[in-house]
Symmetry: C3
Subunit: 111 residues, 3 copies
């Protein structure tokens, strides 16, 4: 089961991570392919997020979850790519990533 | 035409129900398969919703609309399953339901 | 690449238009088919939008972007169809349009 989570507001992160944790718990290990695409101010959490959020993301990344950041959004928010945690994947445009992934069969979810 | 409506905030219910009513009116009876998946605090309306909302849901249920509640969300909000109106379907995880349904050709809508 | 943007809140317009501009810039001219479906109070910008927003929409329309308005939403907000800018396409029901387009392979995005 392939799922893409879209986040463009910083306060939605706890909800997104809870949703992913519950999804993995329900489907079982190895049963999912999960991508999170952050654009807009959703990318703020990657550089300025609380330690607990980053720790949860790292844990999920260790379980195979991809965390992507839109480069346009990073630029607009003056976030340098080399300031991001190493587990973040930077994509040229968040919307392109979202459209591509849906074309590959990923379900879209906006928590 | 198959449509899945996702709701995770209680104040969106009037909008969701209006959207569904307009959709059914436009497509005609028998032309749709509609599922509403509530997770997060979206499930609150099922147990604490105003009578008018519940009445509208019951009416739509009578027209074939499925109203689903995420069990994780019910637990987090201390809602007992046996306190729900009988027309509610409880699913183990709302996100899994959303992913599955999109895989079956349901369009995703987040009102 | 086919993308459908759904907007049902007026304050999301700048975000929607920025997303579309970045998407077109990333994919290149001629590489996209883009539809914006406005329902709920999202339609207000079509008749009462700031000149700068309308100008941006017109520019994108010139690049092939379709801007659709839900007739139910226009009626609910007392907006006459003949008061809309000429580049707006009125559809009988926004939800039907969203469901149809996803069936035609359009990715869904809710900015």
């Amino acid at each position: 089961m392939k799922a893409l989570f879209h986040i463009n507001e910083p306060d939605r992160w706890p909800r997104v991570l809870l949703n992913i944790n519950n999804f993995i718990k329900d489907v079982g290990p190895g049963g999912t392919s999960i991508v999170v695409v952050a654009n807009g101010t959703g990318v703020l959490a990657y550089s300025q997020g609380k330690k607990e959020l980053i720790r949860q993301m790292e844990d999920l990344h260790g379980q195979g979850v991809v965390f992507a950041a839109c480069r346009n959004a990073l630029n607009m928010n003056n976030i340098r790519e080399d300031s991001l945690p190493p587990f973040i994947t930077v994509v040229p445009a968040g919307i392109t990533e979202i459209v591509k992934r849906q074309g590959e069969g990923y379900a879209y979810i906006k928590p």
